[in-house]
């Protein structure tokens, strides 16, 4: 049993950015407008070159490099380069493809999963990767308990791990667990050598990690840099990689650059190759200079408002439905990045089981007003509706970098709903949500599998709506765990998403997309299925 708390956004840092840098930024852009850069189309057929260090400017320090423990984007982006997974998920087709496992069998009830491992895989310390490595890693993740924030849910209900021979490993769950196959493709279930597992979680956080991946950790200094070096013996890339053998890059250097304008200036002046978090006001400058912009919506649950049925206002279904109708999502496009899109379902477009439900999310202020009128919420003198002396007003506390909420606030005012916004630190918001007294929460949840719906809203899981008893929604979500048939799962997740919108359990707002700026010399900068990056195929041309 788990307690409910906020599913937190991955891309944005808990640190607040100083927005008074804006004026300076404007001045900077004026200065920079003087420089000219010719936009050049990337030559798709160019032959990859070996060598060079890719310099990436991060906005926040990852605090911990161990992806088995940490679930933040900044950590997982590093972990993806140093560990491999049993399977890989194709970011285009969303199919699960072989990686360290060459093939697998799943029982019809989706309780037993057998993986047949690739031969000749080694850890960076020279030890062999075998079925025993898989077993000890997954057991270590279970032992991490609450510290393995993501892995723990992926392995929920794992009863036994058997290793009949060096190349075979069988997982048995005590109930159907269809999401497990996709989970094996995540870096949260990546592998470390026995030596690494013998270390304390704290030691591993400091970067004392040996994986099987194409890059190994060279150094990690807090608030300064993370240096990765190529693992020269690497020869077991995922089946969807574009080349074989070791990675093209000699190494990767992540530096921690908290100021957005400094990241932007460093990218424009060629001092770094990648800006991990481009501000929307800088996108035009980058494009005008011919630099690349990479962006992919985070799969999973979009940024949404989640009413809690324990709230005095949120328990009223008419209010929840009015909130769904009262938001003009097309208008939100004007205040978000052009690489980000308004929500068209509870799930983001990049989720495998996504289906377009934008019809259910159409802007209908009159319909919203009618619903509220009928439910007895009458407009007061200040335009805010009142029922039995109670104002239709609540405070939303959040920590994410989500300026579009201010436009949502204005839109909801039109229908007589007073949404007060309070931006606080992550610590404050989490602590407040742990008390469970608020009417609405705000958040998202990234995962390249529709199972996020079950995790976020399921009454036995995080139960985002604080519902008291099982209902049809939970039956549908439970059904998704027993089949691996993607058609059936998609149909069920879509049914679930429809119920979530109809009941007003989820009020989808916009999709979350990290926007990354890349220098002209950077080629084949790729996203994997959960929208973290995969730099095995990435290469630099020698011009810069």
């Amino acid at each position: 049993m788990t307690t409910i708390s906020s599913p937190a956004a991955p891309t944005r840092s808990p640190q607040r950015r100083s927005h008074f840098a804006l004026a300076v930024l404007a001045a900077g852009s004026l200065l920079l407008a003087g420089c000219s850069g010719s936009a050049q189309a990337e030559d798709e057929d160019a032959t990859p070159q070996d060598g060079g260090t890719l310099k990436i400017a991060y906005d926040v320090d990852p605090t911990c490099l161990d992806g088995q423990q940490q679930g933040t984007n900044v950590t997982l982006n590093v972990t993806r380069q140093i560990t491999d997974s049993l399977t890989d998920q194709d970011p285009e087709t969303q199919e699960i493809k072989p990686w360290l496992a060459e093939s697998w069998d799943v029982s019809d009830d989706a309780k037993t999963f057998t993986f047949h491992l690739r031969d000749g895989v080694k850890f960076q310390d020279g030890t062999d990767f075998t079925s025993a490595s898989v077993k000890e890693n997954f057991e270590a993740i279970q032992d991490l308990g609450a510290k393995a924030s993501l892995g723990q849910t992926y392995l929920d209900g794992l009863k036994s791990i058997e290793t009949p021979d060096k190349q075979t490993v069988t997982f048995t769950f005590d109930k159907s667990n269809a999401q497990f196959l996709q989970a094996t493709s995540t870096m949260s279930l990546g592998f470390y050598s026995s030596d690494t597992l013998a270390k304390s979680p704290e030691e591993r956080c400091t970067g004392d990690i040996v994986g099987t991946g194409p890059f190994q950790v060279k150094s990690f200094e807090h608030n300064k840099s993370i240096e990765l070096a190529r693992f020269d013996d690497y020869d077991w890339p995922s089946s969807i990689a574009e080349h074989e053998g070791p990675a093209h890059l000699d190494g990767i250097e992540f530096s921690i650059v908290p100021e957005a304008s400094v990241r932007n200036g460093s990218l424009l002046s060629g001092q770094v190759d990648v800006d991990f978090s481009v501000q929307s006001q800088d996108e035009k400058t980058l494009e005008a200079q011919g630099l690349g912009i990479a962006s992919r919506p985070n799969p999973g649950v979009v940024y949404n408002l989640v009413p809690k049925l324990t709230g005095n206002i949120a328990k009223d279904k008419s209010v929840r439905q009015a909130l769904v109708k009262g938001i003009d999502r097309d208008q939100l496009q004007s205040v978000i990045s052009q690489h980000q899109a308004p929500a068209t379902s509870v799930l983001a477009k990049s989720t495998p089981e996504y289906e377009d439900l934008s019809d259910l999310l159409a802007y209908d202020p009159d319909g919203a007003k009618r619903l509220l009128d009928d439910a007895g919420w009458k407009p007061g003198d200040d335009g805010i509706r009142v029922k039995n002396g109670k104002k239709l007003s609540t405070t939303l506390t959040y920590w994410q970098d989500a300026p579009f909420l201010e436009l949502v606030q204005q839109q909801l005012r039109e229908i007589g709903f007073d949404l007060k916004l309070e931006k606080k630190t992550t610590a404050e918001v989490t602590a407040q949500q742990a008390e469970g007294k608020e009417e609405l929460t705000f958040g998202n949840l990234t995962r390249a599998d529709g199972d996020v719906l079950r995790n976020y809203f399921g009454v036995d899981e995080q139960n985002g709506n604080a519902r008291k008893k099982k209902e049809k929604l939970d039956d549908i979500l439970a059904r998704t765990t027993s089949t691996l048939d993607e058609k059936e799962r998609t149909a069920d997740f879509t049914k679930a998403a429809k119920i979530l919108i109809d009941e007003g359990y989820s009020i989808p707002i916009v999709e979350l997309s990290g926007v990354i700026g890349t220098g002209k010399n950077v080629h084949d900068f790729k996203y994997e299925a959960s929208s973290r990056f995969q730099l095995y195929d990435t290469w630099l041309d020698g011009e810069q």
């Binding site: 840098a21 920079l32 400091t206 807090h222 992550t426």
Partner: protein, 356 residues
């Protein structure tokens, strides 16, 4: 200088440390938020906490104890010089501070050196010049230097000397050149303080009778200023040591963030946002200890530089000893009497001495 004086100053220092510790402890305690939940969540995605695990971690950090017990346990640990481990990073607090210290020290030292040079030049030029407009302009510079936001200055310098003209790297501590822009940024407010204090005391010294006497006997203005007035005027500036150090440390928070430098300021900033209580307390105590030490050193070196003060203190101490004898060995009596060397007082003694 008596041992007794030193002991009383040390006792005062410990009192300051205890107050800093207590104040920061309760301030952090009353901040909304839960460090354990922050640690487990840490801005991550999925936050399904196992209540048992949360309880275990709370116990590990003594967060399950009543407040007075928590405070006593924390105080006891600090007295034993055990500063605990950082909640966020899991490394010992002392290690984290030791790792962050060298880059900040280098930055602060270079900035102070620069600030001294610039401050002296401005103050001397403003005193020497016979053109009122130039003197007014120079005298107004310190005000401007203090008023300019460090954040803005840093970004402007980066924009011009790193992004436009590729002279210095914008990011990191890797090369020696990387320290130049941050040091200049940090030096601006520091030099402003130095210039202001120095200009005032130079003006004071400039109207002293001995200056007129020297001038009459054929000294040039420049020589007179450098040889006679400046040494006298520099003394009050020395008492600014503690203030300058505090300013440098506060400035490093902003400068290290703008220039993406590793260091104490950056560490403090991330520790506060992450509610890393042991780490914040470690930094507060460290800063307070250095502050106490800097002030103590200033006061101790002062008499060495100013003979008049030495004489004054001898007189004071003799008097204290006499009082002590009368008061039949009351332990704490001289503690109140002897710290005449506290910065403000010594400063005024000097100015008065110069006037006499």
């Amino acid at each position: 200088m008596s041992l007794r004086y030193l002991a009383s100053r040390l006792a005062q220092g410990l009192l300051v440390l205890w107050i800093a510790f207590t104040f920061s402890f309760f301030l952090l305690y009353w901040l909304p938020g839960d460090p354990v939940i922050t640690m487990l969540g840490a801005g991550g995605e999925l936050q399904s906490f196992d209540p048992a695990e949360v309880a275990r971690l709370r116990a590990e950090f003594n967060l399950d104890q009543p407040l007075p017990i928590q405070y006593l346990l924390a105080l006891l640990a600090v007295v034993r010089l055990d500063f605990g481990t950082s909640i966020q990073a899991g490394t010992p607090v002392t290690e984290a501070i030791a790792a962050a210290l060298p880059p900040t020290l280098a930055l602060a030292a270079l900035a102070l050196g620069l600030a001294l040079a610039v401050g002296i030049v401005i103050a001397v030029a403003a005193t020497l010049t016979r053109r009122p407009w130039l003197r007014d302009t120079l005298a107004a510079l310190p005000g401007l230097g203090v008023a300019l936001p460090t954040f803005w200055v840093g970004l402007m310098l980066l924009q011009i000397f790193s992004f436009r003209l590729p002279l210095f790297p914008a990011v990191g501590t890797g090369t020696p050149a990387a320290i130049v822009l941050p040091a200049v940024t940090l030096a601006i407010p520091l030099s402003a303080i130095i210039a202001q204090v120095l200009f005032r005391s130079l003006q004071n010294a400039w109207i002293q009778p001995f200056v007129t006497t020297f001038h009459a006997s054929g000294y040039t203005r420049l020589r007179l200023l450098l040889r006679q007035a400046l040494p006298v005027a520099l003394l009050p500036a020395l008492t600014m040591g503690g203030v300058l150090f505090g300013q440098a440390l506060a400035g490093s928070v902003v400068v290290e963030n703008v220039f993406s430098r590793q260091g104490l300021g950056r560490l403090a900033q991330t520790a506060v946002t992450g509610q890393d209580i042991p780490l914040v307390q470690g930094i507060v105590l460290f800063a307070a200890a250095v502050f106490v030490l800097v002030n103590l050193l200033t006061d101790l070196t002062y008499p060495l530089l100013d003979p008049r003060l030495r004489a004054a203190r001898r007189k004071l101490e003799t008097k204290a000893r006499d009082t002590l004898a009368e008061a039949t060995d009351r332990e704490d009596a001289p503690a109140g009497a002897s710290p005449a060397g506290s910065t403000a007082e010594s400063a005024s003694t000097v100015t008065e001495g110069a006037r006499a």
